[in-house]
């Protein structure tokens, strides 16, 4: 609330500053408008920025420093308006200084443009800061986790049961943090998903880029985009309430026991979700294969399918592999489908009809609900998150490199 008030205050002050600066330079220049180095708007902006930047800086400083200051001197309680007041004081000071500097020869445009460039540079570093934030927060919490649970027990342990004991004599509260069952479950579901997504995605991409008329293309492409645009929570609902009971029913009718949280249901639905990723990337790379290669094959008498299999696919293979790697990383990191349709029990099995759990499911289960922040249970989620981040990062880097390397060949 106080932040909002401060922002509004500074905004109003800056608007006032803009007008003051613009008018002042016009008055000072009088009839000799050509003596102005910069157009009047820049003088206005100059004052406005001189008001806004010190104001924002002071507000941030105040917000950070107030808890410490409060301990030293008793601060008057003014309903949180203090931040706005501090910001306003700094803003008005800056405004006054800048206002006095305004003169026709002032190189206001240069100053304003320098600030604008700096703001852009700062905006572009947010990406780096975000990555740093992710790495630091994951690493920091994971290190605290590994102080409680040995690193290799986590990475190679075969038993996952994160219920730590509240009392020493509690039953089943051993607190085993072996992540292998989770990795295996994630792998199983990912493999099932790719078994669905790769053939369907690849074949539809082949059809779209090599066979389809422009009209078919114009209709099918949006359809696949819809498939990509459906929120994952919707897929999760579909998996849990439609697909899983369906598989269970089929299993019952042929006499096979299918778990109602089977890896198969979650994996199949996840595969459907991933079809558009595979197909759009494959479509792109196949379109990038030069037409001359195809024409050469046709000239030798090859049919279309022979051309696709023996010319286009081999030429596009690196790009397609890159796309599949990206799709795998997407499948590993996918959360909602498995949270809603896969199980919670960490079974170490390769049977797709049984329930398995995944890394993302466990992160959600460990962190949803109130927990103290220091227990091994909560910290384990960050260790899992770190593993997830590292795996997907490696996959992404390889995939992007493969795709880029291949694209350069034709450019």
């Amino acid at each position: 609330m106080q932040i909002l008030v401060s922002v509004i205050t500074l905004l109003l002050l800056s608007i006032v500053g803009y007008e003051l600066g613009r008018r002042r330079v016009l008055i000072l220049a009088g009839a000799r408008r050509r003596d102005l180095h910069s157009r009047p708007q820049y003088h206005g902006l100059y004052v406005a920025l001189w008001c806004a930047i010190p104001g924002i800086g002071a507000a941030i400083l105040w917000l950070v420093a107030r808890p410490w200051l409060g301990r030293i001197v008793a601060l008057p309680d003014t309903n949180g308006a203090t931040t706005a007041i501090v910001a306003a004081i700094a803003g008005i000071t800056g405004l006054a200084i800048a206002h006095r500097r305004i003169a026709p020869p002032l190189r206001a445009r240069i100053a304003v443009e320098r600030i604008a460039r700096a703001v852009m540079l700062i905006a572009s570093t947010v990406a780096i800061l975000t990555t740093f934030g992710i790495i630091l927060s994951l690493l920091f919490e994971s290190l605290r986790f590994f102080a409680k649970v040995p690193f290799f027990d986590f990475l190679f342990g075969l038993r996952w049961s994160p219920q730590t004991a509240i009392r020493a004599d509690q039953v089943g509260a051993s607190g085993a943090f072996g992540a292998i069952p989770l990795f295996a479950g994630t792998m199983l579901i990912t493999v099932i998903a790719m078994c669905v997504a790769v053939p369907i995605g690849l074949f539809s991409a082949i059809y779209m880029s090599e066979y389809a008329t422009p009209r078919v293309r114009a209709n099918v492409k949006p359809m696949l985009e819809i498939l990509a645009g459906v929120p994952t929570v919707v897929y999760g609902f579909f998996a849990a309430l439609t697909v899983a009971p369906l598989f269970r029913g089929i299993g019952e009718s042929v006499g096979i026991g299918v778990s109602s949280e089977s890896a198969l249901a979650a994996g199949m639905v996840m595969g459907i979700m991933i079809i558009p990723f595979v197909s759009s990337i494959s479509d792109d790379v196949m379109n990038a294969v030069p037409q001359t290669l195809r024409d050469g094959a046709y000239a030798l008498g090859a049919t279309r399918s022979e051309t696709v299999r023996q010319i286009v696919l081999p030429a596009a293979l690196p790009g397609i592999v890159g796309g599949i790697l990206l799709a795998i990383s997407r499948a590993i990191g996918e959360t909602m489908i498995v949270v809603m349709a896969a199980g919670l029990a960490a079974n170490l099995t390769a049977n797709p009809l049984q329930a398995v759990t995944t890394v993302t499911v466990q992160i959600v289960t460990l962190l949803v609900g109130d927990q103290e922040f220091d227990s091994a249970k909560t910290l384990a989620a960050f260790a899992l998150g770190l593993a997830l981040f590292v795996i997907t990062l490696v996959l992404n880097v390889i995939a992007l490199r493969v795709v880029r390397k291949y694209r350069e060949k034709y450019d």
């Binding site: 572009s124 990406a127 994952t232 919707v234 459907i272 399918s305 299999r309 030429a315 997407r330």
Partner: protein
Amino acid sequence: MTDTTATPLTRPQRGSSPRLLRQRHAAERRFRIYGISAIVIAAVVLVALLGSIANRGASAFFQTEIALDIYFDPEVIDPEGTRAPDALYSANYQTLAKRALATRFPEVTDRRAKRALTRLISSGAGFELRGMVLATPALIGTTARYWIKSSDDVDSFVKNNVARDAPESDRRVKDNEIVWLDALIASGDLGTRFDTTFFTASDSREPEQAGIWGAVVGSFLTLVVTLSLSFPIGVLAALYLEEFAPKNRWTDLIEVNINNLAAVPSIVFGLLGLAMFLSIFGMPRSAPIVGGLVLALMTFPTIIIAARAALTAVPPSVREAALAVGASKLQVTLHHVLPLAMPGVMTGTIIGMARALGETAPLLMIGMVAFIVDIPGSFTDPATVLPVQIYLWADSPERAFVAKTSAAILVLLAFLVAMNALAVILRRRFERRW
């Protein structure tokens, strides 16, 4: 790529042999069929997905109601006759509905049967009556016919979600209740009507009182934060990288980071939000401001990528012309290049926002998964968002929540369709091919 052509095509053995040619053409046809069936499978799945949800969800927009002659008994509402708002507010209005029901079925005398009878109407019926009385206190002492919401069990039963001939133990609605319901249907006192509660109420434990408005408001507040952070950052960063940045290590690092961030699993952003914003900065749990922040960090790489594509599409001649008449580099960019690229930037932003609207996992991490009855009024109030509401309802055991969940999904999809349609319109109307 010439090495791939070195592999021989079909073996050059008497290529004109009719048998071989037939085989090759059959292979061609098979291959084509594989392609078509892949597309057909995808289409069928899409139809099944949307169809099953629409099918389940359609009934949730309607609510079964029972017409009752309600007597607003002054003895119950306001025994002291003061008409003080506090007294009116705290009176037991549910009793009025129960009594009306008892007068409707005077033959029910058994205590257990009476209790079963009261289960026909929603436990929130009292709140509706209270609202009416508080609005017009003159109602007290009068009798009038009102449509009262039925309970969710009755609602499911009437909508034929539960088979009538199932064994009684499998049904939530028992045999004697069916008799009463049939009597109500026969006299025209039971009907389904469009359910406005679903669009105006917030979450509730009772399906018939639960609505999505709280979640819609939460989504809106969250997206406002997301948009106001990710749009400026994304556009400014794209402008810098595309128009100003020198080609050096630092710029390369930024680009690698942007590409990687776009592919980081969303749940990792949730972990970042939990560890950074909640634990270190001490921001409030479940608040739209934190959700918006997390989603903004997820969305801005998408916006940067789209904005850069739009900026590169602006031909260099525009820049050169502006430079030639004496514009500074920043003026070229802000006055000429950016306005021309704006449709593309907007399209990318809307698509990024649509993705943020459908995002669930990172918001679970920062506690937006709590059961929240109040409609959020500010950016720091506890709130939930539409997809999380869907997730919460999908987990509820009550049967009626299945329909509510599907209906909420339909609403979410409607928003997404609207946003994407807007993006398409923008692209069609304003995008220029150079």
